[in-house]
């Protein structure tokens, strides 16, 4: 077989170098910050009612997870390619028998590995805190019921069910998966932008802008293309928006997760499919841009 056409070992080498690079840039310090936030959110507000406490914990933690993944996805991807170009490391890498798409894939996979590992660690920390908090809430609430003398078996069962729904469920991990998928799309998008951008700053700013617009796609559609508008313009505008920015609204299952509603297998499937489509699309465009790039 022609060993040059496609080599997973080479992609892995590039991905591993990317992970090492990011880790040695101390990018994972964010994890520590995250844990502090989660623990603080878990135990700082004992005065609220149990439901609010658990919701707040989930709210704050998911917020931190989102910020972690989006920031890492944009910044680390934006840092990698333009920096290799500025440092001229690309000359030595691409003068080896390395196809350019392998280089791109290696970078992207490296970033995704890092985000994935970070999210898994944070998921574990978060789950542990949530479980502790949940047990604590349960104990406190049962004690409160007993004090009021209404600790009937039915009341306790109801309490159990309620806390169980708001507490640690598989849903939480689905929420984390949604965050990972969204980060993958954003990372692929930044990679594409960095293929034609001339600087790190430009890539970061544009990626951030597109990410923000992508989050609000639904809103923008509603607001701008609402009443009294020509159908054609409406369709065109809508299509333009969809091409230029990814519809990140697909991944917004967090509100449901935070409210304890079950995320259906169907919507999980839709998320995975959408993410795969966007990532593939962006990688293809990146390749087309990068293959032509003058070094």
């Amino acid at each position: 077989m022609n060993s040059n056409s496609f080599s997973p070992a080479r992609i892995w080498t590039l991905a591993a170098a990317t992970v090492t690079q990011l880790v040695r840039m101390k990018i994972m310090a964010f994890l520590v910050v995250f844990c502090v936030i989660v623990v603080a959110a878990g135990f700082a507000f004992p005065v609220m009612n149990p439901e609010q406490q658990l919701k707040l914990l989930k709210d704050v933690s998911f917020g931190a997870l989102q910020i972690f993944s989006v920031v890492i996805a944009i910044v680390s991807t934006a840092l990698l390619l333009p920096r290799d170009l500025e440092d001229r490391t690309l000359y030595t890498i691409l003068s080896k028998p390395v196809p350019r798409y392998e280089y791109l894939l290696g970078k992207l996979i490296g970033v995704l590995l890092l985000i994935g590992a970070g999210l898994v660690l944070m998921d574990i920390a978060f789950s542990a805190v949530l479980w502790l908090r949940q047990s604590l809430v349960l104990v406190q609430s049962v004690a409160a019921l007993k004090q009021e003398g209404v600790a009937t078996p039915e009341a306790i069962a109801q309490l159990n069910e309620f806390v169980g729904k708001q507490g640690l469920t598989w849903n939480i991990h689905l929420g984390v998966l949604a965050i990972f998928l969204k980060a993958s799309v954003i990372a692929a998008l930044s990679l594409m932008i960095s293929c034609f951008a001339s600087s790190t700053l430009f890539t970061v700013v544009i990626s951030l802008l597109v990410t923000i617009i992508g989050h609000g796609q639904g809103l923008i559609r509603e607001y701008f293309f609402s009443e009294g508008m020509n159908q054609i313009i409406k369709k065109l505008g809508s299509a333009m928006l969809a091409i230029l920015t990814p519809d990140l609204g697909v991944f917004d299952v967090l509100d449901n997760v935070i409210n304890g509603e079950i995320v259906s297998a169907f919507s999980a499937g839709v998320m995975i499919g959408t993410a795969a489509l966007y990532v593939t699309g962006y990688v293809l465009v990146s390749h087309l841009l990068f293959v032509e790039k003058e070094l």
Binding site: N2, A9, T20, R88, T89, Y91, T92, V98
Partner: protein
């Protein structure tokens, strides 16, 4: 595989023209104009020329890092646009730089893996290269702290790591101390003995003159002179006598003898580089 004469040359460049388009409204810049050259297998080819004459641009085109505006380049018969053409090449770019978070050894391991090397072989080879380039002490130091000459040495180690049949060196001795620079010269001599093809640029003409079989002189993106070094710097109607330990008396005697036979005595003295003279003459032609 027998090395038949019909096998393709190590490098060919055919009518290469490279135009750099700058931003809107600004004029495009022609870095290389209609350049052709061939490097035969086992040859040491020196490319020289003033700053900005297009030497590095030509090398990048040969390695497929830049796409030619016009023309084509090949390595061992394979077009530079194919990834496969890079299998047998080691390239040292000018001012090389590497991932600063890796150590010297890690850097070589990284590049080795990109060339599909692995395991003990790679470890041994990487250590050998560090020893060869005098970087043993820096094996475990991060590249971020390397000096210019050390980066240059690491660049050389990286280029030689996978034992390529063609080595392309862009100013290998820039920033390297005199001893190191001498060592690089000896290395190139060694490659020549082993039949490895070398394409090298340098501003140290004495070194080029010492190691190269053929030389091309570029100016303003064009090839202004090209040929076998001996032919290029030979002066038809002059003869050079090089004597060691000749006494002034002997020199005076030879001179009298020569003049009595109708030859004109031009100069006597220590041997000097003549490539330098040629370089200055060729590249001082007025801009077109």
């Amino acid at each position: 595989m027998p090395d038949s004469t019909s096998s393709p040359p190590a490098v060919t460049v055919e009518n290469l023209t490279k135009v750099f388009k700058s931003g809107l409204g600004k004029q495009a810049f022609v870095a290389v104009r209609d350049l052709s050259l061939t490097v035969q297998k086992g040859e040491v080819y020196g490319l020289i020329g003033p700053n900005g004459s297009g030497k590095s641009t030509t090398m990048k085109a040969i390695l497929g890092l830049l796409s030619p505006t016009v023309g084509k380049t090949t390595i061992f018969g394979k077009s530079s646009t194919e990834v496969e053409s890079r299998r047998d090449v080691g390239f040292l770019p000018e001012n090389p730089y590497f991932y600063k978070h890796l150590s010297g050894l890690e850097t070589l391991l990284f590049y080795g893996r990109l060339c599909s090397m692995s395991g003990r072989d790679l470890q041994d080879k990487a250590r050998e290269m560090l020893a060869l380039t005098g970087l043993e002490d820096a094996a475990n130091r991060r590249v971020a702290g390397f000096s210019k000459g050390m980066l240059q040495r690491l660049g050389l180690a990286q280029a030689l790591l996978h034992e390529p049949r063609l080595i392309i060196l862009d100013e290998p001795t820039a920033g390297v101390d005199p001893a190191g620079s001498r060592k690089i010269r000896d290395l190139i001599m060694g490659f020549k003995e082993r039949g490895i093809t070398v394409l090298v640029t340098s501003h140290l003409l004495e070194q080029i003159q010492e190691v190269c079989d053929r030389v091309g002189i570029m100016a303003h993106g064009r090839m202004v002179r090209e040929g076998k070094l001996d032919d290029l710097i030979a002066v038809e109607n002059e003869t050079e006598l090089i004597l060691a330990d000749a006494s002034p008396d002997l020199l005076a005697e030879i001179r009298t003898l020569a003049e009595s036979k109708g030859a004109k005595w031009i100069r006597s003295g220590h041997s000097r580089t003549t490539l330098e003279r040629l370089f200055l003459e060729s590249t001082e032609e007025p801009k077109s």
